[in-house]
Assembly symmetry: none
Homo-oligomer: 151 residues x 2
DNA sequence: GGTAAATGTGGGTAAATGTGGGTTATTTTG
DNA sequence: CAAAATAACCCACATTTACCCACATTTACC
């Protein structure tokens, strides 16, 4: 299960997001269209997992030592915001208002394939963040793992 | 699988790019015409891989420690922009608007063979960049690896 | 240089996709 | 418990994309 690519999508008046057709079949087979959305704690964007992948992650998060404040914080943020969402008959997901607000999603959004999950950004915020990322691309401060990566 | 050469190509009104015939057979055999395009993070151009080659790279990028900001950045840029593209019956690729915009591709483009991948430039930008490269070619500041290279 | 084959280009059409909204069910709230 | 809001489900239309065919142009070969 590997997702990639940039997908500009419009939310409709009800807050629904049409999943691009090329992902639909895979999602239906893999998890019957059952997904989980939660927030990204670093950036103002959402994370969207197929149910099976999310459950693995959730298990790991819960297994962490919960007396540590930093761990409690992550647990509350990630698990707390995690919401089950099913694709409807037209291959659309209804994003809850709480999550839409967090990521500042209005009409134009970006669905970004990121391996085993997707990220959901407001178009505006994604564009701005992308430009930052590109500007930072002076190789000077790259960690070793990246220095040696040949593309 | 090794690609060489500069190929001036015209995009048609639908944003399609005809792959020069001499590459077609090899691409059909090697990957059934399945390719992946993504962005180059240093230059405003695109990278075009046969699917198999891309998957190797993707696996490496995915395996990096994703809590490091520099790594997340690369993952978002490279995997995020990676888009599956298939050759049509006429040996053409339809480049998505998002990627065309990034590289500033309008009509005249350059397909540049670069070993296991291609690069795609707008003709204008390629010409300018090539001139820069030629101007910088005072050997003084070459790293050791290059000093010893005999052509 | 002429001819035939191969390549590049343009666009039409049917099918797939995206979009909007109506109606019924379910939940929430006063 | 009633009323309002939200969500689920469904259908229908508009748009886009993929696929195909046909023509123009170039290349290769005789």
């Amino acid at each position: 299960m590997f997702f990639r690519g940039v997908n500009p999508i419009n939310l409709d008046a009800k807050g629904r997001m049409a999943i691009p057709a090329r992902y639909r079949d895979r999602l239906s087979e893999h998890c019957g269209g059952q997904m989980v959305a939660t927030i990204d704690t670093e950036e103002r964007c959402l994370l969207l997992y197929p149910l099976a992948e999310w459950e693995e992650i959730e298990a790991k998060i819960e297994a962490l030592p919960s007396f540590k404040p930093a761990v409690r914080r992550i647990q509350r943020l990630l698990i707390g915001h995690a919401t089950d969402i099913d694709m409807d008959g037209n291959g659309r997901l209804l994003l809850p208002a709480t999550l839409r607000d967090y990521a500042g999603l209005s009409k134009k959004i970006i669905l970004l394939g990121q391996g085993s999950k997707f990220e959901i950004w407001s178009e505006e915020h994604w564009m701005a963040t992308r430009e930052e990322y590109l500007a930072e691309a002076d190789a000077a401060e790259l960690p070793d793992e990246l220095q040696n990566l040949s593309l």
